[in-house]
Symmetry: C2
C-alpha cells in the first residue's frame, strides 16, 4: 500500500467560478489540502486569444509548482481548451482538465445522439469539446453555442429574472430545435444558471462539469496512490482582491475559508 | 504663434470601447496623429480593485511616454476614476481624463438638480463622478447606478433586443423614480446602448462622455499651442489580438485603420 502523500492539490481558474469545482472536490476528498488560485486580475479568459490563455496558464502552473503540489486541476474550461497539452508536457505531476470528464458524462446521457455544448466564446471557438467528443464517438452530432451573457448574469445575481429566461431561450432555442437531448455546462459559472435552463427546457439532460470533474480527480488520486491521510484544508489565492470577491466566494463556495491572499504572478514573456 | 507640434496624442482604454472617444477625436482634430492603446489582455478594468487599475494605468502611461506623445488622453472611465491624479503627477505632458468634461455637460443639462451617473461597478464604487459634480455644485443630488450587463450586451450586439429593454428598465427605473432628468453615460461602451435607453426613458437628457471629452481635448490642444499642421493618422495597439477584435473595432470605430499591432506591456511590480 502506498504511503499517505500530504502535499497539496493545486486548482486554478481564471477567477472565482472554479470554486464550484473546488466545492465538489472538498466534498469528495475531505482529507486533502487544496491550494486554489483565481486569476481575478486577468479574468475573463473566455474572450482572450488562445496564445494569451496559454501564457497565463503556464504562469499559474509555474507558480503552483513552487508550492509543492502533487496534482494540478485545471478548473477553467478555456484554459483546459487551450493549454492542457502544454501543461501536461510541462508539469511533473498529473494534470486533470475539466473537459474530458464532462464529455464522458454527456455521451452516457444522450439517447438521440445529438448533444449540446455551451460555454464562453473562446471555449466554443476552440472546438475542444467537439474534438474530445469525436475522439470517443465520431457519430455523435454536436451543436455548440457560446453564451457570453451567462457569466455576467450569474455575477449580477439575476439568475431568476425574466431577463435571464429571454437569454436562455435566445441561446438554447436553436439546440432544442435541432433535437439535442443532453447539454454540457461548459463553464464553471453555468451550474448557477442550471435552474433557469431547466425551467425553460425541461427535456434537456444537463451535465455539470464541476461534479464530473470532481469524480475524475477523486478517482485519479486513489488510482495513483497519492491520497492524503491528514485533515483537509483549503487555501485561496487571487491575483486581485476585487470588491466583488467575497460575494462571489459566497456564491460559489459555501464552505468556511481561513483566508484569501493576494499574490503577484511572475510574468513570462511572450514568444 | 506656436510652432506646429507633430508629436502624437496618446489615447488609452481598458479595451476597444475607448475607440468611441477616438472616433470623436479624429473628427474634431483631423490633422493629429493618434496612438491608441487598448489593454485587451486585461479588460475589464471595471471589476478590478483600485490598486490594480492604478498599476495597469501606470504601465500603459510609461509605455506611451516612450512613444513620444504630447498629450495623454485617458478614455477609460475606470482608469480616470482611480488613476488620474497619479498619472497627472507622473507625466510631463498634459493628461486629460474622461470624467470632468462629462460632468460639466451634465450640470449644464439638468434643470431638476437631480442627475444620474451610470457606469461599471468600479467607476460607480469610486464615486469619482459624484466627487467631481460636488466640486462644481454641492447642491446637486446624484443618483448612481452600476450597470455591469451593458458592456456584454453591447459586445454581443443585442442592443435592440427585448432582453435589453428589460435590463435598461431594471437599472434606470430607480433613477427615473427619483426625479433624475439628466444622465451621463459613464462608460465608453454605453453610447451604443443610448438608443435603447432613449426609447425606454425619453425624458432623460443623455450625456455622451466621448463627445464631451473630444471637445475638451480639442480645446486643450489649441489652448496649449500644440496643434499639428500635418496630415492626421491613427495607429491602434492592443495587448491581445482576440477573436472579437475586428468586430469590436468596426462597432466602435467606423474609420479606416492601417494596422492593429499587438504589444507586450512591461509589468511594474506592485507595492
Amino acid at each position: 500500500m502506498a504511503m499517505p502523500d500530504s502535499r497539496q492539490i493545486g486548482v486554478f481558474d481564471s477567477g472565482m467560478g472554479g470554486l464550484t469545482v473546488l466545492s465538489e472536490l472538498v466534498q469528495k476528498l475531505p482529507g486533502e489540502t487544496f491550494l486554489y488560485l483565481g486569476d481575478t486580475a486577468r479574468i475573463p479568459y473566455g474572450s482572450r486569444s488562445p496564445r494569451t490563455v496559454k501564457r497565463y496558464s503556464m504562469e499559474i502552473a509555474s507558480f503552483l509548482e513552487q508550492h509543492d503540489i502533487k496534482m494540478l486541476v485545471v478548473a477553467c474550461n478555456t484554459a483546459t481548451a487551450h493549454a492542457l497539452p502544454d501543461l501536461t508536457a510541462r508539469m511533473n505531476v498529473p494534470v486533470i482538465g475539466v473537459i474530458e470528464p464532462g464529455v464522458r458524462a454527456l455521451l452516457s446521457a444522450t439517447q438521440s445522439g445529438k448533444v449540446g455544448v455551451i460555454g464562453t466564446r473562446s471555449t466554443i471557438k476552440s472546438a475542444a469539446y467537439e474534438t474530445e467528443i469525436h475522439k470517443i464517438d465520431s457519430s455523435v452530432k454536436v451543436v455548440s453555442q457560446a453564451c457570453p451573457l451567462f457569466v455576467p448574469i450569474v455575477e449580477e445575481g439575476w439568475m431568476n429574472k425574466e431577463f435571464t429566461r429571454l437569454a436562455v431561450r435566445e441561446y438554447l432555442g436553436p439546440l432544442h430545435d435541432q433535437g439535442v437531448d443532453a447539454v454540457v455546462l461548459g463553464c464553471t459559472h453555468y451550474p448557477l444558471i442550471r435552474h433557469a435552463i431547466a425551467l425553460e427546457f425541461p427535456e434537456f439532460k444537463l451535465i455539470d462539469s464541476s461534479v464530473e470533474m470532481a469524480g475524475a480527480v477523486s478517482a485519479a488520486v486513489h488510482a495513483t496512490g497519492i491520497a492524503s491521510a491528514g485533515k483537509g484544508s483549503v487555501r485561496i489565492m487571487v491575483t486581485d482582491v476585487t470588491e466583488q470577491l467575497s460575494s462571489l466566494q459566497d456564491l460559489f463556495f459555501p464552505h468556511p475559508v481561513a483566508a484569501v491572499d493576494e499574490i503577484l504572478l511572475p510574468e513570462i514573456s511572450a514568444g
